[in-house]
C-alpha cells in the first residue's frame, strides 16, 4: 500500500459530490451511503503508518504559487484521529440512513471531509481551507432542522466560527511574515509570540474553551437529530488534534482546560434540554483533553488522544440516544419527558452505556482514557488540576450517567398524552448505529490493546496499561462514582427539571449586540432632538420677531447649516436603524471581514 495513497477525506468528499447522481431507489441509495464511509475507513486501516521515532510519511504534495502544500501527512497522531473520525462517519451515516433529504447527507460528509483534511494536512494553508469547509458545511446541519430558530442559530454559529477562522488566519499569516514558515508542526511554546496566541485562539474557539464556547450548546441543541451526532464528534475533536499537533505543552491550556471541565458541569446542572446538557458535557470532557495538551508530556498526549477517541464514540452514542427520543417524541426537554422506560427500553440501555462510558465506570471506555490525563497530571505533581478533574468526573456521572437517563426514562412522567403515544423504539438503522457504538464503548473498556496500540507513544501506553485496572484505581473510581450516585438519590428533588434557559456567553452577541445598537442610536437621536431645539430657539423664534436681515441670515445661514446637519444626523440615525433591523449576524460578519482585511493589509503592507 506504499505506492498508492488515498486520502480518506477525498473518498468522503468525492462520495458527497457524487451523491446527487445516485439513484433514489432506497436500496441503492442506502448501500451507497454505507459504502463510502466504509471505504474511507478502509483507506485509513490500510495506510502505512511510520514506526515511532521515525519521521512522518508525506503524500499529496503540490506546489501552488510558490507554496508547497501538503495534503497527506501520516504519523501515529494523524492516524488515530483519522481512524476514529472515519469510524464515527460510518456510525453517524447509519444513524441518519432514514433521512430522505440527501442535502443533509452531503453537508455531513463535506463536514467530515473538512475534518479529515485538517487531520492529514501539514501546512496552514491547507489547514485553513479545510477548517473553513468544516464551518460552512456543518452550519447546514443546523439549518436543515428548519425551525424558526434554526436560521438565526446557524448564523450565530457561522459568525463565531468565521471570527475564530480569522484569528487563525491572522496568526499564521503573521508567522509567515516573521519566519517565512507555513508548516503545521509544534510551535515554540516555551517562547510564545503573538502569532502563537492568535493561532491558539483560533484552535481553542473550535475546541469551545470558555469564553469562546457558547456556540456549542447553542448550535448542537438546535441541530437536526442526525446532524448533532456528526457535530458532537468532529469540530471540537479536530480542534483538539490541532492543539495537540501545534501547541502541546503550552502552560496556559492547563488552567483553561480545568476551568472548562468544571464550567461545563455547572451549566449541565442548570440545563433543561437533554441535548444542550450533553453539549455542555462536551465542553467539560474537551476540558480534560485541553488540560492534557497543556501538560504536554508523552503520557498526557496519549491520554488526550485516547480520550478524544473514546469521547467521540460515547458522546455520539449519547446524542444518538437522546436524539432517538427527540426523533420519536419531538421532545428533548426534561420538563416534557419522563417515565419512558416501558416505551423505549433499548434506547435507555444504549444511553446508559454512553453515560457509564463518559463517567469512566470500570469496564467502559472512559475509564481507560480519562484517567490517563488525570494520572499524567499527578505524575507531573500537579495536584490541584488532577483533583479538580477528578471532581469534575463526579459531576459527569451525576448528569450524564444519572440525570439524563433518570429524567427521561424514570422520574416524574411529564409527557403529554401525545408525547406518550408517539414514544416507541426508534427505526432499525438508528438502533444498529447505537448498538455498534455501545459495543465499541464496552470493547474499548475491556480490551485495552485496541485503543492503546493506536496511541502515539506506545511505550508510555503499554506502561499505563498495567496500572489502569489496578485495585487502587478501580476502587477509587467506584467509590467516587457510587457515592456521587448516593448524593444524586438523596437530592433528586433538588435536580428536578426547571423550564428555563441558561444565559451564557452568547448573551454578548445576542443581547449585547442589541445593546450596542441601542447605545449607538440613542445618543444620535438625543443629538437630533437637541439640534431641533437649537433650531427652534436660534432659528425659528428670531425669524418671527427680528428684521429682514435676521430673516435672511436665518434662512441662508443657520437654516442651511443647522438643518443640513440635522438632516445628516437624521439620515445617519435612519441608516443605523435600518442596519439594526437587518440581521445582526451580517453586521458583525461585515465588521469581522473588515478587521481581517485590515490585518492582512497591515501584515503585507
Amino acid at each position: 500500500m506504499t505506492d498508492l495513497w488515498i486520502h480518506p477525506g477525498m473518498v468522503i468528499l468525492v462520495g458527497a459530490l457524487l451523491l446527487p447522481f445516485i439513484p433514489r431507489t432506497p436500496a441503492v441509495l442506502k448501500s451507497y451511503l454505507v459504502t463510502v464511509p466504509v471505504l474511507a475507513f478502509l483507506s485509513v486501516l490500510l495506510m502505512e503508518v511510520p514506526e515511532e521515532g521515525t519521521s512522518a510519511l508525506l503524500h499529496g504534495q503540490f506546489m501552488v504559487l510558490g507554496w508547497k502544500l501538503t495534503f497527506g501527512r501520516v504519523d501515529a497522531l494523524s492516524n488515530i484521529f483519522g481512524h476514529i473520525m472515519t469510524l464515527m462517519c460510518i456510525i453517524g451515516t447509519i444513524y441518519g440512513l432514514h433521512v430522505k433529504d440527501i442535502k443533509e447527507h452531503m453537508a455531513a460528509w463535506l463536514y467530515v471531509a473538512g475534518s479529515l483534511g485538517v487531520i492529514y494536512c501539514a501546512d496552514y494553508i491547507v489547514l485553513f481551507l479545510f477548517w473553513e469547509l468544516m464551518a460552512f458545511s456543518s452550519v447546514f446541519l443546523v439549518w436543515f432542522r428548519k425551525r424558526k430558530e434554526s436560521l438565526p442559530c446557524g448564523y450565530r454559529y457561522l459568525l463565531v466560527h468565521t471570527a475564530g477562522g480569522l484569528f487563525l488566519l491572522a496568526g499564521f499569516v503573521l508567522r509567515y511574515k516573521l519566519t517565512g514558515a507555513l508548516d503545521f508542526n509544534l510551535l515554540d511554546v516555551n517562547n510564545p509570540a503573538l502569532y502563537t496566541y492568535l493561532i491558539t485562539i483560533g484552535f481553542i474557539l473550535n475546541a469551545a474553551v470558555p469564553p469562546f464556547h457558547a456556540w456549542l450548546p447553542d448550535a448542537y441543541g438546535e441541530a437536526t437529530v442526525s446532524g448533532a451526532v456528526f457535530m458532537c464528534a468532529f469540530t471540537t475533536k479536530t480542534a483538539v488534534y490541532a492543539l495537540a499537533r501545534g501547541v502541546a505543552g503550552l502552560d496556559i491550556l492547563i488552567p483553561m482546560g480545568v476551568f472548562m471541565a468544571l464550567y461545563g458541569v455547572v451549566y449541565a446542572v442548570l440545563e433543561n434540554d437533554a441535548r444542550r446538557l450533553l453539549a455542555y458535557h462536551i465542553i467539560s470532557q474537551v476540558g480534560y483533553m485541553v488540560t492534557g495538551v497543556g501538560i504536554g508530556t508523552q503520557m498526557a498526549i496519549n491520554g488526550t488522544c485516547a480520550h478524544a477517541f473514546a469521547h467521540i464514540l460515547y458522546k455520539g452514542l449519547l446524542f444518538m440516544g437522546c436524539g432517538s427520543v427527540l426523533y420519536m417524541t419531538g421532545k428533548s426537554k426534561f420538563s416534557d419527558l419522563g417515565g419512558l422506560y416501558p416505551k423505549m427500553p433499548r434506547a435507555f440501555v444504549y444511553t446508559l452505556i454512553g453515560g457509564l462510558s463518559i463517567s469512566a465506570f470500570p469496564l467502559f471506555s472512559g475509564f481507560v482514557s480519562k484517567s490517563m490525563i488525570v494520572a499524567a497530571g499527578f505524575s507531573e505533581h500537579m495536584l490541584w488540576p488532577a483533583f479538580l478533574l477528578t471532581l469534575a468526573s463526579a459531576g459527569t456521572f451525576l448528569h450524564t450517567g444519572l440525570k439524563v437517563p433518570y429524567f427521561i426514562w424514570f422520574g416524574k412522567n411529564n409527557c403529554s398524552k401525545e408525547t406518550w403515544e408517539k414514544a416507541a423504539e426508534p427505526p432499525m438503522n438508528m438502533e444498529v448505529a447505537m448498538f455498534t457504538a455501545s459495543f465499541l464503548c464496552i470493547f474499548i473498556g475491556c480490551y485495552l490493546p485496541y485503543l492503546y496500540d493506536l496511541l502515539p507513544y506506545s511505550k508510555e501506553a503499554s506502561a499505563y496499561a498495567h496500572h489502569v485496572y489496578s485495585a487502587y484505581h478501580v476502587s477509587e473510581s467506584l467509590q467516587i462514582l457510587l457515592f456521587t450516585a448516593l448524593g444524586f438519590f438523596m437530592f433528586t428533588k433538588k435536580l428536578a427539571p426547571e423550564p428555563t434557559i441558561s444565559i451564557d456567553m452568547d448573551w454578548f452577541y445576542r443581547k449585547g449586540g442589541r445593546a450596542f445598537f441601542w447605545l449607538a442610536r440613542k445618543p444620535i437621536q438625543t443629538f437630533d432632538t437637541w439640534f431641533g431645539e437649537v433650531y427652534r430657539t436660534v432659528g425659528l423664534h428670531p425669524l418671527m420677531t427680528t428684521a429682514k436681515f435676521w430673516s435672511w441670515f436665518d434662512w441662508h445661514g443657520i437654516d442651511g447649516v443647522v438643518d443640513g446637519l440635522a438632516r445628516l444626523v437624521r439620515s445617519v440615525g435612519a441608516r443605523l436603524r435600518s442596519v439594526q433591523s437587518g440581521r445582526l449576524q451580517y453586521n458583525i460578519y461585515y465588521a469581522v471581514v473588515i478587521v481581517a482585511v485590515l490585518i492582512v493589509t497591515y501584515v503585507y503592507g
Binding site: V266, L270, F483, L495, I501, S502
Partner: protein, 90 residues
C-alpha cells in the same frame, strides 16, 4: 425483557436500596483493609473513607453551588442565569 427486569427491581425497591447501601459500605471496608495504597498521590488518600467522602462531597457541592449560581440575582438586578425560555424572543 429489559422492562420486566426493571419492574422486577422496582417491585423490590427497599431490598435494592438496602443492597446498594451494603455495596457502598463494603467498598469502603475493602478499600480500607485490602487495597494496596502505595500508588496514592497524597497522604489524605490513605484514609479509608477518603474517596467515598470525595465523591459524595463533590456531588453535593456541584448540585448546590450550581443551583445557587443559576438562581442568584446578579448585581442586585433581576438578572438570573436561569432565565425564562422566551428570554431571547423579541
Amino acid at each position: 425483557m429489559i422492562v420486566k427486569f426493571i419492574e422486577y427491581l422496582r417491585a423490590r425497591m427497599k431490598l435494592v436500596i438496602r443492597l446498594s447501601y451494603l455495596v457502598l459500605g463494603l467498598l469502603m471496608v475493602h478499600y480500607g483493609i485490602f487495597v494496596d495504597k502505595s500508588s496514592a498521590h497524597t497522604k489524605m488518600e490513605l484514609l479509608f473513607f477518603f474517596w467515598a467522602a470525595f465523591g459524595f462531597i463533590a456531588c453535593v457541592l456541584i448540585i448546590f453551588l450550581s443551583k445557587w449560581y443559576g438562581h442568584v440575582k446578579w448585581f442586585g438586578t433581576d438578572f438570573r442565569v436561569m432565565s425564562p425560555e422566551d428570554y431571547y424572543d423579541d
